[in-house]
Symmetry: C2
Subunit: 213 residues, 2 copies
């Protein structure tokens, strides 16, 4: 009773999340190297001390934002792969949820896009290097979720593509594109998001040669 597990999401964890949020927005706006730790601190109205208390380095902070972004993607998409819909329907639902993530958690998803290549170049400690490899792996696992349904759908004859690797790259670039150009309208937020999501998904699935629903 009164064990530490009961207040798992209290002040310290909230402080971490607040930092991650601010860091995501900073990285989104200025990119990794153009963002200074002081920038993030200023956005929070605090000093570097707070950030370096929770994160070991700038690269660690970036990696944490990346990891959280990927976790949100998995949480939204992975359950859909366990339903008993057709591969085509799964692909459509997965694409829709993926794009929804792009517009609802855009700062984090932009960091995921900028991604690991950025972290890989430059001097890294062995532990940081291992962490980067794990993050790369998680992204590969994520895209593999889509790849699997794409192959099944192709076998079913509902989509056509030549090279699977190229098709995956183009499809993801297409579905991810809102992280670059989407700006939420003040009014009609949900309706605006849904409209964008539907157009992007349609474009992507049409790109794969899928017939309209």
């Amino acid at each position: 009773m009164g064990s530490p597990a009961l207040r798992e999401n209290s002040a310290p964890e909230n402080s971490r999340l607040e930092i991650l949020q601010a860091a995501a927005e900073s990285f989104e706006q200025r990119g990794f190297s153009a963002t200074s730790i002081d920038d993030v601190a200023r956005m929070l109205g605090c000093t570097k001390g707070r950030i370096y208390h929770h994160f070991g380095s700038k690269a660690d902070l970036f990696a944490a934002v990346f990891r959280l972004g990927m976790e949100m993607n998995f949480a939204a998409v992975e359950p859909l792969t366990h339903t008993d819909a057709s591969a085509t329907e799964k692909l459509r639902m997965m694409a829709e949820e993926h794009v929804r993530q792009m517009v609802t958690t855009k700062p984090f998803q932009r960091v995921v896009w900028d991604g690991v290549e950025l972290l890989m170049r430059g001097a890294l400690t062995p532990e940081q290097r291992d962490e980067c490899l794990r993050l790369q792996q998680s992204r590969k696992r994520y895209s593999a979720l889509f790849r699997a349904q794409m192959e099944k759908a192709k076998a079913d004859g509902t989509v056509q593509y030549d090279d699977l690797s190229v098709a995956t790259q183009v499809l993801f670039t297409c579905l991810n594109s809102p992280v670059f150009w989407y700006r939420p309208r003040i009014a009609d937020l949900r309706k605006d998001q849904d409209a964008v999501i539907e157009q992007v998904v349609r474009f992507g699935l049409n790109g794969l040669g899928m017939k309209e629903a």
Copy 2:
């Protein structure tokens, strides 16, 4: 005679181009802020003196790379708009040439992608600001070339999309995608490029709802 105009592309201009080439590759690999002028100089086997002799600042160098990239795009695509093909056919040809630019001049096109937003944030002199606005304008003029054919093709009923702005953004993101993931194979270079170009173009046009040729 022997006027200066006769030797327009002699040593000094070649030196400039050599710098632009190296700068493009550096910016492509590490991004704008992570690239130092010394990096570019090192790649050329020279020192900063040479670079600052030809370009006033790091931002000027970046802008020059951007400008050259856009010029190559216009040179490849703009002539096609003057042919007397159908809007659909024009769109196909323009997309093909555009993607060809992405794979053949990738470093420059990556800089064009990173683009002007990057330059706009941060302190700029009034002249630099004007130059940035001009570059933004040139990119808008370029996308307008495609937009025009998209509208005609929609009127012809050969493509379908809801919002023109969204469709343009997604289409361009799709056609530009090779700047992120394309890596030339050593052997069969031309054949490899053509295959990628064809798949990307097909994806993009299918995304617009265009029927297969």
